[in-house]
Amino acid sequence: MTRTDPADVPFPNAQLHFGVFFQGVNHWTIWSDPASGSQIDPASYRRVAQAAERGLFDAFFLGEGLRLREVDGRIHDLDVAGRPDAITQLAALAAVTDKIGLVSTSNTTFNEPADLARRLSGLDLLSGGRAGWNVVTTDNAWTGANFRRGGYLDHADRYHRAEQFLTVARALWDSWSDGAAASSADAPSWSAPGAVARVREHTTQFDVDLAPTLPRSAQGHPVIFQAGDSAEGRDFAARNADVIFSAHGTDFDDALAFATDLRTRLRAAGRPIDDLRILPGTEIIIGATEEEATEKKRWIRLAQVTPATALNVAGLVWNLDLSDRDADGPLPAEDPVIAENSGAFGSRRIADPRETVARWRAQAEANGWSLRETVIALGPQRGHVGTPAGLAEKFLRFARHGAVDGFNITPYLIPDGLDDIVNLLVPELQERGGYRTEYAGRTLREHLGLREPLTRRTADARTRRAG
C-alpha cells in the first residue's frame, strides 16, 4: 500500500476519530474464547472504556434492545445477551474515566422526553460534558409488549415522534440560563429569578409543561448520534444529528457515496458540511503481517460463525428453521419462504431472499463451499483486516477523501479486544499525523470538533451581541 500524498486529497488534514461500541448482542462478539470475559460485570465495561481512553478515543458507545432477541418465537440462545441499562452503566463509567465521551443508545418510542432528557442531562453533568445520545426508534408491537404505552408507531410516525422528541429535549436542555444557580450561599435565592424558563410544548406526540431541574453541561447539550440508513433516516440525521453512525465503512466507494449523499442532504437542511461527523461501525482485525491478519480473520470468522450460527443466519435468509441441517453440508435445496416481517428480531430482514439464495447457490457451487463457508464468505460483511501500517494508510485515505471521519469499532473480544488497536494501530496513525496525541478538550463535543449547539439561548446571545 502506498502512502497518500496529502496534497492530492480534499481533506489533507483530516483526523480520525474512534469510538468503541461495546455491543452486547450479535454473533460478532466471540464468547467461546477462553479470554472472553463477562458481558455484565462492571469490570468488563471499565476495562474497555479505560483502554479506549488510553487510546485517546472520542467515545464509548452502548447499544440498547428493549426486548431479548428471538428466532422463530423462541429466545435466541446462540449470541451474547443481557446488557445493562445504557445511561445507568455510563453514569458509573463517568466516575472511572476522565475524558472519553459516553454515548447511550436510547429509544424515543418507549420513553418520554422530560424523563429521558433529564437522565441524559444527569449523565452529561456527572461526566463533565461527555454525554452522547444515539437516537433510535422502534416501530413494532413486539417490543411494545414490554411497555405501559404498548402498541407501536408505524414507520413514518416513529420519525415524527423522534423529531418532536428532540425538539422537546432541546427546549428542556436550554431552559436554564447560564449562571442560573447562585455562585454564593449569601445570594438572596438559590437560583436567579427568571433564570429557569418553564417549558411548554404541545405537539402531535407530546403535551408537556414543566420546570426542568438541570442546567446545561460544559458542552451545552449531549451530542446527538443517529444511525438511520433509509432516505428518511438520512434526512433525519441531516436535520438533527451531530454524528452519524453508519453501516458504510468497509468499502471505500460505498463509504464515499454515503458521505457525499449525506453532505447533499446536510446542505439541503441548511447546515454546513462540516457540521456532521460520519463514524461507520466496523470491526478491525490486526496482524503483524498481511498473512497473519488473514489467518486471524479466518479463525475469528470460524469462532463467530459457528455451525449453529451459520444455520441461524441461513435460516433468516430462507425464512426456514434450518437448525437440524448440517452446516458443513450443502445449501438447503428449498426455495426461500416469503413472509411479512413480524418486527421480532430474527424475522425476515432480507430485501430479496430469492435473489440472495440464487447468488449464494451460484457462488457455493463455483467454489465448492459448504453452507457455513458460504455464510462466512457471503453473509453480512464488515470490518477491516491488515497490518497496523496498512490499516493506518487505508483509514487515512478514507478520511482524507471525506469518506469517513473515523470509526465506531466493535471489538470481537470483550474485554481485551481493543488492545491491539490502541497499542498498534493508534501509534501508526499518530506517526502519520492523522490522530490526536493527546486530548485537546474536555468534552465529547470538543473531541469531535463540533460547534456548540445552535440553540434558542445561543441564538439570543448572538442577536444581542450583533445588536
Partner: protein
C-alpha cells in the same frame, strides 16, 4: 421537649456519661442491632440548608458533590445512603430547584465506593416499570450487589404534565401503580435464572433459554411480557424500601416509619423496619439550636411527622441506642449535610461502633447480606438440570 420513642420517653439533654455503653447483643438475624442509613440528597433536610452548605449553589449539581458526600458516608461506616428524587424541582425558589436523577447519581456513586449500600428513590406513578426494573438491576450489577430501591409515588397533579401522561387520579391509583410496578420489577429480576448464561461451546449455546422466562405480568393498568434485558441482579432481588402504608404485605423488604410507635410498628409487615430520624447536632460552627434558628430566618423546617433530634452527639448516640429495642435501623436526615455529617462521622458513628450498636458493612457483602436478609430463591427456578435432554 421530650421525644417519645415507642414506649420510651427520651430527653435530649446532654448525656452525663461521654461514652454510653450498651452490651453487644445479636438482634433478629442480623449481626448488629442497628443499621444506619443516611439521606444525601441536596444540602440537607432543611429547605434552607444550602445557606449553611460548605459550597456554593452552583457546585451542587456536580460529580464532585455526589462523590464527596457519598464517600464521607462510606468512610463514616453507614450501611447505606438514600437519594431522594422527583421530576419536579426539589423546592420552590428561593430553595434549590435543581437535582440530578437519583439513579444516575447512584450509579456514579456505586463506581466511586466499595462497601456502601445505595438506594435511589424511583417513583412508580408514571415511570415505565420495564425501564425502572432495568435501571435498578443495572445499578445492582454496577455496585456488585449493593443496590436498593426506595419506592415513592408522585401524587402532585403537575407530575402528569411533566410526563405528558394522563394523571393518575387519587391515592388508591398511586398505591396500585406502586404495587404493580414493584411486582413487575420483581418478576423481571427473576426472569433470568442465576445460571442462565451457560456458554456451552459444544452446542454453541450462550444461553439456556429454559432458564429465561416470559413473565407475562398483567397489572391493573399495564402488562409486561419479559424477560428482562438485564441478567438477574447479583442480589437476586434488590432490597426494596418503602414508606409505611404505601404497599400491601409481602411487597417490600424494609418499611420506613416516621414514628416508631407500637401501633405503626405492629402494622409494618416487612422483614425489617427503619425509623426516620431528623437531626440537628451541636457542631463547632454553632449549637443545633443556633443553627436551626439561623435557617429559620429564611424558611421553617417543615414537620414531616418524623422523630426529630436536636442537641449534642452524645444524646443522639443514646437515642439511637434506645431505638435498637424497637426498630432494625434508622434513616437519618441531617439539617445540613456539610455540618452534621462531620459530627456523625467523628463522634456519633464511632461511639455506636465501639459499643457494637452498629457496624460498618463488611467488604464483599451485598446490601441484603449486611441487612441480614437471605438471598431470595428465584420464583421461576427450574428443577435440576436435565443434561442433554435439551
Amino acid at each position: 421537649m421530650p421525644h417519645r420513642v415507642g414506649r420510651l420517653t427520651f430527653h435530649p439533654a446532654p448525656a452525663p456519661a461521654p461514652h454510653p455503653t450498651v452490651p453487644p447483643a445479636p438482634w433478629k438475624d442480623t449481626e448488629v442491632p442497628l443499621h444506619l442509613a443516611l439521606e444525601i440528597d441536596g444540602d440537607g433536610a432543611h429547605p434552607a440548608a444550602w445557606r449553611r452548605a460548605a459550597h456554593a449553589p452552583d457546585t451542587l449539581l456536580t460529580p464532585e458533590r455526589v462523590r464527596g458526600v457519598g464517600t464521607i458516608a462510606e468512610n463514616a461506616g453507614f450501611t447505606l445512603v438514600t437519594l431522594d428524587d422527583d421530576v419536579l424541582p426539589p423546592g420552590p425558589a428561593p430553595a434549590p430547584v435543581g437535582r440530578i436523577g437519583a439513579v444516575e447519581r447512584a450509579a456514579y456513586l456505586a463506581a466511586s465506593t466499595s462497601t456502601l449500600g445505595i438506594a435511589p428513590v424511583v417513583s412508580t406513578s408514571y415511570a415505565e416499570p420495564f425501564h425502572t426494573s432495568s435501571q435498578l438491576a443495572s445499578l445492582d450489577h454496577i455496585s456488585i450487589g449493593r443496590a436498593g430501591w426506595l419506592v415513592a409515588i408522585s401524587p402532585a397533579p403537575e407530575t402528569a404534565r411533566v410526563w405528558g401522561r394522563p394523571p393518575v387520579e387519587g391515592p388508591e391509583a398511586h398505591l396500585r401503580e406502586a404495587r404493580d410496578s414493584i411486582r413487575a420489577s420483581r418478576e423481571l429480576w427473576d426472569s433470568w435464572e442465576d445460571d442462565a448464561v451457560i456458554r456451552e461451546v459444544a452446542t454453541s449455546r450462550y444461553l439456556d433459554r429454559d432458564r429465561l422466562h416470559y413473565i407475562d405480568f398483567t397489572g391493573e393498568t399495564f402488562a409486561v411480557k419479559g424477560p428482562a434485558i438485564v441478567p438477574r441482579p447479583p442480589q437476586g432481588q434488590l432490597v426494596v424500601f418503602a414508606p409505611d402504608g404505601l404497599l400491601p404485605a409481602g411487597v417490600a423488604d424494609v418499611t420506613l416509619v416516621s414514628r416508631p410507635d407500637p401501633a405503626v410498628l405492629r402494622r409494618a409487615d416487612t422483614p425489617l423496619t427503619f425509623a426516620e430520624v431528623e437531626l440537628a447536632l451541636d457542631t463547632p460552627a454553632g449549637t443545633a439550636a443556633d443553627r436551626i434558628a439561623d435557617l429559620e430566618r429564611h424558611a421553617p423546617w417543615p414537620d414531616r411527622g418524623r422523630l426529630r433530634y436536636t442537641g449534642g452527639a452524645d444524646g443522639l448516640v443514646r437515642l439511637l441506642t434506645e431505638l435498637t429495642s424497637v426498630v432494625d435501623g434508622v434513616r437519618l436526615h441531617a439539617l445540613v449535610l456539610d455540618e452534621d455529617l462531620a459530627v456523625l462521622s467523628r463522634l456519633v458513628l464511632p461511639a455506636l461502633r465501639t459499643a457494637r450498636v452498629t457496624a460498618a458493612p463488611v467488604p464483599g457483602h451485598s446490601l441484603s447480606t449486611t441487612l441480614g436478609l437471605s438471598r431470595p430463591a428465584n420464583r421461576y427456578a427450574s428443577a435440576a438440570p436435565t443434561g442433554d435432554a435439551r
